[in-house]
């Protein structure tokens, strides 16, 4: 596994290992890599002790991580806050549902769904991002515009109840949503239960490793440069609009990855996934974990999803209050994020 390999590699090796161990994420010591490898290993063996239900549930906590990582890239590393990542999540899910639902018998139908779902997310982000970044709107407007995009999409999808909103043989379903979305297939293997769990773990690990290399590579540095000083970066010869648009599209595609996993998980999607409550959640995960550390964001996304599930399935009416209070407390007392703050303290003490 590449994580294990990376942990053995010299800190300043070459290629992927060097990028992975670059300065722009927490957890660079051999010890930290060992912990990461152990964490991954425990995820790999977990199903041996878990029921299919538990594995599927854990997969749910994991499946939002790509979206959160994308937002971390965009906001933490790029300084652009999007409140509308769920819009791209929803688009990927819906487009997958339409394409895969219309090709129920073709063996490659679901995979065409994956490609078109991600393509649709990226395309929407490219068009919308073009309007935002090439018009050079003020930074504070971007979160509002993206939030309005998400709410608009939610409203529109909610209006697709009638039969005229049937694409091929798949009805969009209005507020009730699109049901019976087929699961990914390879040959006779359908990605459900344990198979879905491993698929999710694999995708999350790939997204994380890819992004960690990306932020430590040149493009990632340019993005951070833009966050620190937009004009300075432009005057080093970078087309800032284009760099931001690129990050925006990448983040949207990652949100699309989460959207695709989500429809695998529930075989179902509704307009509420892009509603007001949902739109804010990725921001919560990223802010509470520590927006400029991918690892922190991944850990926090997993834990917060678990927390909110545990609280609410215990019938706890304080779930929203607790999450809100957590958010306020973190922003006030650990503005770098809980996970990042804890990690840095531990690291300092060790030294």
């Amino acid at each position: 596994m590449s994580v294990a390999a990376a942990s053995r590699a010299a800190p300043r090796g070459s290629g992927l290992a060097r990028l992975l161990n670059g300065p722009h994420d927490i957890g660079r010591t051999p010890g930290a890599w060992a912990v990461l490898a152990a964490g991954l290993a425990s995820f790999l063996v977990y199903p041996h002790w878990a029921t299919a239900f538990q594995a599927t549930n854990v997969a749910y906590y994991l499946l939002n991580i790509p979206m959160a990582l994308g937002l971390s890239l965009l906001w933490g590393y790029g300084g652009v806050l999007s409140f509308g990542q769920v819009a791209f999540f929803a688009v990927a899910g819906y487009v997958y549902g339409i394409v895969a639902g219309n090709l129920p018998d073709a063996p490659w139908g679901t995979w065409l769904g994956v490609v078109s779902g991600l393509g649709a997310s990226a395309a929407l982000a490219a068009v919308f991002g073009y309007f935002i970044f090439y018009a050079r709107v003020a930074a504070w407007i971007v979160p509002i515009l993206t939030l309005v995009l998400a709410l608009l999409l939610s409203t529109f999808l909610g209006l697709t109840a009638g039969s005229m909103w049937t694409v091929g043989q798949v009805p969009l379903g209005g507020y009730n949503g699109m049901t019976g979305i087929p699961a990914l297939q390879v040959g006779t293997l359908t990605f459900q239960d344990y198979a879905f769990y491993y698929l999710t773990v694999g995708v999350v690990v790939l997204c994380y490793i890819g992004l960690r290399a990306w932020v430590n590579a040149h493009r990632g540095q340019v993005l951070m440069a833009i966050r620190e000083d937009t004009l300075r970066t432009e005057l080093l010869g970078y087309d800032v609009r284009r760099e931001q648009l690129r990050a925006f599209v990448l983040a949207a595609t990652l949100a699309g990855v989460s959207g695709l996993l989500y429809v695998q998980w529930g075989n179902y999607i509704t307009p509420s996934v892009t509603g007001l409550q949902q739109a804010a959640l990725p921001v919560v995960w990223v802010a509470v974990g520590g927006r400029d550390s991918l690892l922190a964001v991944a850990i926090c996304t997993f834990l917060l999803n678990q927390l909110s599930y545990v609280l609410s399935s215990a019938g706890n009416q304080y779930a929203l209050v607790i999450i809100g209070a957590l958010l306020v407390a973190v922003m006030m007392f650990a503005p770098e994020g809980i996970v990042v703050t804890l990690a840095r303290r531990t690291w300092r003490r060790r030294r």
Partner: protein, 243 residues
Amino acid sequence: MSDGDALLRAEGLCKRFGGVVAAQSIDFALRRGELRCVIGPNGAGKSTFFSLLCGIQRPDAGRIVFDGRDITRLKPFQRVRLGIGLTFQTNRAFHAMTVAENLETARRGGAAGDDVHFQTALASFGLAAQLERPASALPHHELQWLEICMALRRGPLLLLLDEPTAGMSPAETARTAEVLTALAADGLAIAVVEHDIAFVRQVAQTVTVLHQGAVFAEGSFAEVTARDDVRRIYLGHVHEAAA
């Protein structure tokens, strides 16, 4: 000096903000390998001129030709890609990155020329030994030098510097002047907007004096500083001079 072989030529640049005229018909030319200082009292339009050259502002009238191309309508990053490197009045290196990362970030913003000037500067400023330090740990003058190195990283034909020695000690200023002179001698064109007369005296081959948004005087340092009207505007007899 003939304008025919000029690397950078500005013709009739005008810029007004509401009722304020920041630049009126500035003509300016710079040869390859020339080191030019642009001076002028506060409010003379130095900063505006600088931002017109690098594209932060668009002129209301006039045009800018660089290396034989009209760059008047180009965006800042496009100008940089054609071979203009620049630094700002205030220190704007990326503090969250290391020195090496700062330089790395500066390296690949599009097609790059050769980087002999960069290597010279890096060695002369003594930054090569500090590549792994975070930029935030550098003292002020080294940050300024780092910025100059960053501007040189892509091998520009022209270096635009906005008050590069602001806040430096006399020794540091002198060091900066030395390096810039050496770079110019190697064939790099440099234009410096500067306040510090000592620095200007040390480096300048030619000096351009801006006043009230226009070129007031141009010539060698000795010629220009000898002129009474130039002395007057620096001493504040603005009205008389403008008349």
